[in-house]
């Protein structure tokens, strides 16, 4: 079986359809396509052995192919509030940087995530965060506050968590109990845009930390693979349900590591999605749970592992 690796293609609009066809022909998947004025960015999965060929073909078009470890993941950036104290810097800078590495990020601004004693997390916030592959918590400056409030902010969160805060990594590891999956110290409440080299280095460190955590999850998944590769199901849904092409969302179908978020109303489309044929005699309903998402009225598809369905598409 060929190994698909996540890559980002950056190039001009001119003849970019040839690259898209090429990726398709090689058996790869395009997870996201952004057209910005003259430029095109494709977040995609391509066979490892064919990367050099894509590079060669893209060269005359001035396109470049880079490895993007976070393609095909949806990450929640959790900010204690949407007040000026926490936005736009840190949360937006973190979200933007993760996006550059290929992730689809969503900002979750908590209604009452501020304060040491008064912080809390409501059920909607909890469920929305749990719908992601990973949550990055952008916390503040004081060790004392992080120690007191973090247990409340992580209550019932099952997805891996990466915490950022002003205390150094060791201090964060000391005050957070039970431990979380990743820590990035030295990033607290910062009131300016990240631009100095040491600040950008912190963002790189965050991307490394997030990729490390997600790689561990990918390794675990490889032991019991999903019944269908999420980008493959994404392509099928985009081909079969033509309403998807009429949505104005930047990512009408968002790929996650273990599922998809389809931005169609659950009530009207859930049955259509469930009965969609993935391969001969196999429908989406056979290999995945199609559930309502807590995010608006979207559909959340959770693909079941092979061990449960005994089907591998």
């Amino acid at each position: 079986m060929t190994t698909l690796v996540p890559v980002t293609y950056k190039g001009g609009v001119y003849r970019h359809d040839e690259i898209m066809d090429l990726i398709d022909d090689l058996g790869g998947y395009i997870v996201q396509k952004h057209v910005m004025a003259q430029d095109v960015v494709l977040q995609s999965f391509v066979p490892r052995d064919d990367i050099e060929m894509i590079r060669r073909i893209a060269k005359p078009l001035a396109g470049e192919v880079t490895e993007a470890p976070l393609v095909g993941t949806e990450i929640a950036v959790v900010s204690p509030s949407l007040e000026i104290h926490h936005l736009p810097h840190i949360s937006c800078d973190v979200a933007e940087y993760l996006r550059r590495s290929g992730a689809k990020t969503n900002m979750v601004g908590l209604a009452r995530g501020f304060g040491k004693r008064i912080a809390n997390l409501n059920d909607e916030e909890r469920d929305v965060i749990n719908e992601h592959d990973l949550a990055v918590y952008a916390l503040g400056n004081f060790e004392e506050c992080i120690q007191q409030k973090f247990p409340v902010l992580r209550r019932e969160i099952h997805v891996p968590i990466v915490v950022t805060g002003a205390p150094d990594r060791e201090a964060l590891m000391r005050v957070i109990d039970p431990p979380v999956e990743g820590y990035v110290g030295g990033v607290g409440r910062i009131m300016h845009r990240f631009k100095r080299p040491e600040e950008l280095a912190k963002l790189d460190e965050l991307v490394d930390e997030v990729s490390r955590v997600l790689d561990a999850r990918r390794d675990a998944l490889a032991k019991d693979p999903l019944s269908v590769f999420p980008p493959r199901l994404m392509t099928i849904i985009e081909e079969q349900i033509h309403e998807v092409s009429m949505l104005t969302h930047p990512t009408p179908v968002t790929a996650q590591m273990e599922g998809l978020r389809v931005k169609l109303p659950y009530d009207s489309y859930a049955d259509t999605v469930r009965s969609l044929e993935v391969a001969e005699g196999v429908t989406v309903g056979d290999i995945a749970d199609v559930t309502p998402s807590r995010m608006r009225n979207y559909i959340l598809i959770r693909i079941k592992p092979f061990s449960e369905t005994r089907i591998l598409v």
Binding site: H85, H86, F114, G115, K116, N141, E143, D168, I190, M191
Partner: protein, 194 residues
């Protein structure tokens, strides 16, 4: 950090203290208050929890008059205002409309305003006060301190009078004697009595 004459941040948490020093610098720079604040002393302790900021203001900015941003050219039948800086154009037009009536205030382009000559009082036109930045300055200083203080510290007491200001905030109810116990000692450290 800004050229304040005195600037100290105190905190039992060294990492937090440095972070707040940077936050203060960024916020004062963003809100353009560096020239306004002369001295500032901040104490923040998340264990109590308490945030205290005390300080002194520099002299207040003076009122803005027409002569500060426009040339007044008097002709026989009309007065032409040649606008140098558009910042105060909107309040200027409001005032001129009130004096001359909207139909008599002609603005052929962004930087020119034409008025009829001979209206009573127009000899003092260039001294006319258009805006007074000190009116909003108090609000700006308090807003900056709200912005600097940790967000969860919603219970607060603030004061700004005769060039001195303080801002105390906490997550819990503030004790009644907080000014005597927390604010006065900080003013003393700056060598000022409240």
């Amino acid at each position: 950090m800004p050229p304040l004459n005195y600037f100290v941040v105190e905190s039992p948490d060294e990492v937090g203290r440095e972070a707040y020093e940077r936050i203060v610098g960024d916020v004062l720079q963003d809100l353009d208050l560096i020239k306004v604040i002369d001295r500032l002393h901040i104490y923040v302790d998340p264990k109590v929890p308490i945030f205290v900021a005390v300080g002194l203001l520099r002299h207040m900015p003076r009122a803005i008059r027409i002569a500060d941003f426009a040339n007044v050219n008097r002709g026989e039948n009309e007065i032409v205002l040649d606008i140098g800086d558009e910042t105060y154009l909107a309040p200027l037009l409001q005032i001129l409309w009130a004096i001359y009536g909207k139909e008599h205030v002609d603005q052929p382009d962004r930087f020119t305003v034409v008025l009829p000559a001979g209206v009573a009082g127009d000899e003092d036109l260039d001294r006319l006060v258009v805006a007074d930045p000190s009116e909003t300055l108090y609000k700006d200083v308090i807003y900056a301190l709200q912005y600097i203080a940790p967000e969860g510290f919603k219970v607060r007491r603030q004061y700004i009078r005769e060039g001195k200001f303080y801002y105390v905030a906490s997550e819990d109810t503030l004790p009644t004697d907080i000014v005597e116990t927390a604010v006065v000692p900080l003013f003393e450290k700056m060598g000022v009595t409240l």
